[in-house]
């Protein structure tokens, strides 16, 4: 209960302004200017003008884009890419490991009273935390595509190696301790960076929604999957899904670094036309 109580400190927010963007949205221009004056020592008025211009530009788009339109030609490929990234993220064990990693480390231990699984879990979570903190700071200014593709392949190989080296061996568990590093550089964070850089503002929460939905499905069906395939069989399946996801991302993902949404969407549209053209020409040959 210490943390919930400590979090009440967040009531400081009660004494703060809403965001300038929100205030401009509500038509409270004076308050927006006041809020910007608290952030900017100089240039608050210029920033206010920029926000108002952005609003005027975005407003017509906001009325147009609805969730159902994500499946129109313009957004079909980027939406599929976002969903593939989320499936690969869960197949890589993102949610399963946070719930079941101690049980996985405990597999095959002769001494059930041993505290080795707990120690390995703490090391695992510490490596994950450190890798995520480091990677989020440098990933913003790095190209996304090579990181997500190569990182996913490494994650997939680690999951397959868990099977090859045997679930009970020390080596296989050591491989799992490496898992957080490529994961933090690829599937852990980059999907949340790439999706908002591609899809319109109103529907960019699809990344978060699909993340939670796939997380629910993976946790809900993990026990059934273990019953049906065994832990090692499940790891092979997960590794193969992640590698297939990485290969499909290598062909379909558009690099978003230093590009605006219009450029990215145009590249997606060209890529989609190219894929459809290839499909139609191959079917006409047959």
């Amino acid at each position: 209960m210490i943390f919930p109580v400590a979090n009440l400190i967040n009531f400081i927010i009660f004494f703060r302004n809403d965001t300038p963007t929100q205030l401009v949205d509500q038509g409270e221009i004076d308050q927006a200017k006041q809020a910007l004056g608290r952030i900017y020592k100089q240039g608050a008025q210029e920033r206010l003008n920029e926000i108002r211009k952005e609003k005027e530009y975005i407003a017509p788009q906001r009325k147009i884009v609805r969730f159902i339109e994500l499946f129109t030609k313009k957004y079909r490929l980027p939406t599929l890419v976002a969903i593939v990234m989320m499936i690969a993220q869960q197949a890589a064990g993102y949610q399963i490991f946070s719930g079941y990693i101690t049980e996985i480390f405990a597999i095959g231990l002769l001494n059930q009273a041993s505290s080795t699984p707990q120690v390995l879990t703490v090391i695992f979570v510490f490596i994950l935390m450190t890798s995520e903190i480091i990677s989020t700071f440098f990933s913003y200014e790095s190209p996304r595509k090579p990181y997500i593709v190569i990182g996913s392949i490494i994650v997939g190989v680690i999951l397959l190696l868990f099977r090859i080296t045997g679930k009970e061996s020390f080596v296989s568990k050591s491989f799992l301790l490496i898992w957080p590093i490529p994961m933090a550089c690829s599937l852990s964070y980059l999907p949340y960076l790439i999706t908002p850089e591609t899809l319109p503002a109103k529907v960019e929460s699809i990344a978060s929604t699909s993340h939670w939905l796939f997380a629910f499905l993976s946790v809900q069906f993990y026990p059934n999957a273990v019953d049906a395939l065994g832990v090692q069989g499940l790891f092979i399946l997960m590794g193969l899904v992640v590698i297939c996801g990485a290969i499909s991302l290598a062909f379909t993902l558009v690099e978003t670094e230093e590009k605006n949404k219009d450029q990215v969407l145009k590249e997606y549209k060209d890529k989609y036309d190219e894929i459809m053209h290839l499909n139609s020409s191959s079917s006409s040959k047959n």
């Binding site: 943390f3 919930p4 400590a6 979090n7 009440l8 400190i9 967040n10 009531f11 400081i12 927010i13 009660f14 809403d18 965001t19 300038p20 929100q22 949205d25 509500q26 608290r38 952030i39 900017y40 020592k41 100089q42 240039g43 949610q95 946070s98 719930g99 101690t102 049980e103 405990a106 059930q112 009273a113 505290s115 707990q118 879990t121 703490v122 979570v125 994950l128 935390m129 995520e132 903190i133 990677s135 989020t136 700071f137 990933s139 913003y140 200014e141 964070y189 949340y192 109103k202 929460s205 978060s208 929604t209 993340h211 939670w212 939905l213 997380a215 629910f216 946790v219 809900q220 026990p223």
Partner: protein, 187 residues
């Protein structure tokens, strides 16, 4: 890092960042702790619960989080980012308290409430922080703040390990996994 001292009031958005990071730690810690106590509750308080229901209860916060993050658009637009953040914390704290009670319906409702608020917070927090941060710092600072979710997860595991060590020292119990841990002794 903060080179433009004459351009920005750094303390203002650093405080906003502090709020956001604390929020991330709180929510991930709460989710972790709820999962740790869950196993104890099913073993000692609700021993006759079916395994299907147990799995559903374990994953319930995740499905309500997906609903929460889908509902965040209208919440952020109509209620505003600041009000959403003000309301989110007390509601989530009530959810955590409910989730740790020994009543099954209250526990399910508590887990659903916390999950919903986690879904809302994971979208609204970066949105609030991004809009409160000057453009020059927006990218690295707002992306760096999300990594505090893993700090919360780490703290929940550390807390669980600490409970395990204390319990072992007191009773000499042999426990296999972190999900077997409880700070209370079994009845």
């Amino acid at each position: 890092m903060f080179q433009d001292k004459d351009k920005y009031h750094h303390s203002y958005f650093i405080l906003a960042g502090f709020n956001i990071c604390l929020d991330y730690i709180f929510y991930t810690y709460s989710m972790g702790v709820m999962d740790i106590i869950l196993d104890h509750l099913f073993k000692h308080v609700f021993p006759e619960t079916s395994s299907t229901l147990i799995t559903f209860i374990a994953s319930a916060p995740l499905i309500s989080a997906s609903i929460g993050s889908a509902a965040v658009g209208p919440i952020a637009t109509h209620l505003g980012r600041r009000k959403a953040l003000i309301f989110a914390d007390p509601i989530a704290i009530c959810g955590v308290i409910l989730a740790l009670t020994s009543s099954l319906p209250a526990m399910i409702i508590g887990r659903l409430v916390v999950g919903f608020m986690v879904g809302v917070i994971t979208v609204i927090n970066p949105l609030y922080f991004t809009e409160m941060t000057p453009l020059d710092y927006r990218g690295p600072v707002s992306s760096g703040s999300t990594s505090f979710m893993s700090v919360g997860t780490f703290l929940s595991f550390m807390g669980a390990s600490l409970c395990l060590t204390i319990r072992k020292a007191k009773s000499g119990d042999t426990l296999r996994s972190i999900s077997d841990i409880s700070c209370r002794k079994p009845d």
